[in-house]
């Protein structure tokens, strides 16, 4: 048959017009009409239904991931020094990058939900039965591939969250018997996490896994077409066509999914706008944590929410060691997958289908329950009333959690003991939850600071963001201080609500605002100098300085108020701190007083006043960077406390060949942090 004849025979009217003829031309050579027809005019037995939309919606979700993923790829750079940096750039500097990344991030989560719905619908409708068994198995494989892409994608920003979650996931892979360690090493690209972990995860995430997925998807769809749609029985309505009846429902579902995702991304912007705040586009969409740091504890480490159930499930086996983990992370999930794979066969038995439905629902319920438990453990501090635990908390502090002491404390009241013990359990949970919430808050602050630093005009150093974060006094100072100084010194704003308690507990001076005019004024105040914020809890409590402040400075005749103001002004200036306006003119006079041998200079050396070092700290450059670095390095140096040093260790000094407790860089960071010297973005 000639082509036009064939067309006439197939009932296709010969079209006129340019487009009609072009379509004919193409159809003659490709036969596309038959293909399109085949694709669209599928019979839907019993008519279109909403319950059939999940498969199409999943395909749509996957296509969205392919599109956004390719565009993200155009901006992403997988290496330990550029992954976080390039994702930061996408999120905060590339126009529309926040939206692109947001869609990709949330669509990945939507896909997991859609997968669960699709699976549920297939099992409940019994659509796995003959002849569709193979397609059901293909579906399970597709599910694994999608979860694999979710897992690998989580690491790619190379932030703290993704990094630590991946450490856990790959270590779990490492406990598989025999092949485990090799498998783990292959996946992370060597014995250590780094460049090759990223290149490999990226190749898996954007190459191997999606390519495999597409192959399976093509077969999945072809088989779906071959067997036709499995209709929900009983069929009460007339059959309909896939196009447009079912497509309409599918399209509405796709639009709804996209609307939800856009809603999640844009909701914070709307909230900010309603509150009259400025919207930072970079803060919308997917989160970006602080850059991955193997040396920094990260107590906020959690997997993505859809893996939380597994995380919680592993806790069931706590105390079983590696066997427990092997059991919880590999055996049990493996068994569940096996049962699922057997569903088409089990479904043929009497009651088999009911078993399958019950099993699936039970698994989903279990997943839901475990997720709820995990969330409850992490967030219980938000809703448990801590005040109701006050008595238990007090008893816990008194007895140190010792049961025998508790019995004694309660005079043998057994009912009360039991009640308190129960409350202790709750207390322990609340404390853990609070620790998690604090860790999350800290992680958020670190993330925000990293973003702030990345925006400096000097940009990110070639060695990467981590180096910049590690050189940042604001990020590192509080940690180093807490670790090395905080066991003695307080660092709390005296006006803060809990300041008094914190200061009373400390055994050395409160260093908040050290070097400032306010700090100095407190030191020179007879009521404070021997208090816990200054020398109260130290060996200097009875020292010369305390008696000088109490006896000499209170004598208005020798030390009129103006003189004290002058000393305060001079010392703040010495520390390089701002001198308050009203005493700014007194700096020179103050310097003379500090230097004078009948005033401060009697004990303290100051700017070459001739006083010998050793009796009291040298006040030259007091509170400045060099001075602080010096005293942290070695307070026993004659410039500082010499042999009168109380208990302060020499952090920068060590015996020959030994490593001092703090490196010079770390001491610099502490000094800069105490002085409030760190990068601050210019205010726009």
């Amino acid at each position: 048959m000639s082509r036009p004849a064939a067309r006439a025979a197939s009932g296709q009217p010969s079209r006129k017009g340019v487009f009609g003829r072009l379509a004919d031309f193409l159809d003659d050579r490709t036969g596309y009409r038959a293909v399109v027809h085949e694709a669209l005019y599928e019979r839907v037995p019993g008519g279109a239904r909403w319950r059939y939309v999940w498969g199409s919606t999943l395909v749509f979700a996957f296509m969205t991931q392919v599109i956004t993923g390719l565009f993200l790829w155009a901006n992403y750079s997988p290496s330990a020094q550029t992954a976080w940096e390039s994702v930061y750039y996408i999120q905060h500097e590339v126009a529309g990058g926040w939206l692109l990344r947001g869609i990709h991030h949330f669509m990945a989560q939507a896909m997991v939900v859609l997968l669960a719905l699709h699976l549920l619908q297939v099992v409940i409708d019994g659509a796995y039965r003959a002849p569709r068994e193979v397609n059901f198995w293909l579906g399970l494989v597709l599910m694994m591939l999608v979860l694999g892409m979710a897992l690998t994608g989580y690491l790619l920003p190379w932030d703290q969250k993704g990094y630590w979650a991946t450490i856990v996931a790959t270590n779990l892979a490492g406990i598989v018997p025999f092949a485990g360690p090799s498998l783990q090493q292959l996946v992370i690209g060597g014995p250590e996490y780094g460049h090759h972990t990223l290149t490999r995860f990226f190749a898996l995430h954007a190459g191997f896994l999606p390519a495999t997925l597409v192959m399976f998807l093509v077969v999945h769809l072809a088989l779906f077409r071959k067997h036709g749609l499995h209709a929900k029985r009983p069929i009460t309505k007339p059959d309909a066509m896939f196009w447009p009846d079912q497509v309409l429902k599918d399209a509405v579902a796709m639009l709804a999914v996209m609307a939800v995702i856009l809603g999640v991304i844009l909701m914070p912007a709307l909230r900010a706008m309603l509150a009259g705040e400025v919207v930072h586009l970079g803060h919308l969409g997917a989160e970006l944590g602080a850059p991955a740091d193997p040396s920094l504890p990260y107590a906020a480490a959690r997997p993505e929410w859809y893996f939380l159930f597994l995380f919680q499930f592993l806790k069931v086996f706590e105390g079983w060691g590696a066997t427990g983990e092997f059991f919880g992370a590999i055996v049990v999930p493996g068994l569940i997958m096996t049962v699922m794979a057997l569903m088409p066969i089990v479904g043929n038995w009497r009651l088999g289908h009911r078993f399958n439905v019950a099993f699936t629902l039970a698994i989903l319920a279990g997943v839901g329950l475990l997720t709820a438990m995990a969330l409850n453990e992490d967030y219980s501090a938000l809703w448990v009333n801590r005040a109701s635990l006050a008595e238990a908390e007090k008893l816990h502090d008194q007895t140190g959690g010792d049961a025998a002491k508790l019995v004694a404390a309660l005079g043998g009241d057994n009912a009360k003991v039991a009640a308190i013990k129960r409350q202790w359990k709750t207390l322990e949970k609340v404390r853990r939850s609070q620790a998690y919430l604090d860790a999350v808050k800290l992680a958020e602050a670190d993330a925000a600071r990293a973003v702030e630093l990345a925006g400096r005009p000097e940009r990110i150093p070639p060695a990467g963001m981590l180096e910049l974060v590690r050189r940042d006094p604001l990020s590192q100072g509080p940690r180093l201080f807490a670790q090395h100084c905080g066991s003695c010194h307080a660092h709390v704003d005296p006006l803060a609500p809990d300041a008094e308690v914190v200061i009373a507990k400390s055994s050395a001076a409160n260093l908040h605002g050290f070097g400032s005019a306010d700090w100095m004024r407190g030191l020179l105040d007879a009521n404070q100098v021997a208090g816990p914020a200054y020398f109260g809890n130290t060996a200097h409590k009875e020292g010369d300085m305390v008696s000088f402040v109490r006896d000499d400075l209170t004598d208005e005749a020798t030390w009129p108020k103006g003189d004290i103001d002058a000393v305060v002004a001079a010392m703040a200036a010495e520390a390089g701190r701002p001198v308050p306006q009203e005493i700014a003119g007194l700096v020179d006079k103050g310097r003379e007083l500090v230097a004078a041998s009948d005033r401060c200079g009697g004990c303290h050396a100051f700017r070459g006043n001739g006083t010998d070092l050793g009796a009291a700290p040298d006040l030259t450059g007091w509170g400045g960077r060099d001075w602080l670095v010096g005293i942290i390095t070695d307070p026993t140096h004659e410039r500082f406390y010499g042999d009168q040093n109380d208990r302060m260790p020499s952090f920068g000094k060590a015996a020959e060949g030994a490593i001092p407790p703090l490196s010079r860089e770390q001491i610099d960071l502490i000094a800069d942090w105490l002085r409030g010297e760190w990068y601050r973005p210019a205010q726009h």
Partner: protein
Amino acid sequence: MARPHGNNSAASVRPDDRSRGADPLAARREFMAKVVALACGGLATIPPVVAGLWAFLDPLRRTRGAASFLSVADLAAIPDDGLPRQFPVIADRVDAWTGFAAEPVGAVYLSREQGSREVRALSATCPHAGCFIDLEKATQCFRCPCHNSSFTLDGNIVNPSPSPRAMDELECRVGGNGQVEVKWQKYRAGIAEKVVQG
């Protein structure tokens, strides 16, 4: 288990087979369904495509910073024999998110006549297609290794050469401290006119 709806080949069901042609209401409904389906599907696809293209076009927003004078050498380092010598150009450079401090970003040829304090600066970038031009000691001329464009020591073109113009001369000044400063600029390759690259 029977196969209630197995193998219902789509080809056996044609839209024409359906009786809706007789029912104008059903035909209208179907038309509406098609329009709404296409509209919803299209709308759902817009966000990823728009976000992707929006980000993809971002490089078009980026511009090179304004050219500035960079100190490249000490006057004394350039012998006054009229022969060009190659000097690296050191500058701070930003590559997307990375900031490089004081990095070699290119090279210039500097020469000066006997006794003169005036320095002539030629960019080492070939005006043909951007390769790095060599100074050939043996033949006393500039030669580009990529397609063999040749230039005299003054930077003038030696024909036949594929380069459409002479070597690009850069603005050059000598500061009071004897520092030779060059206005570091790139020009568009492959055209006869010397046009600054934005």
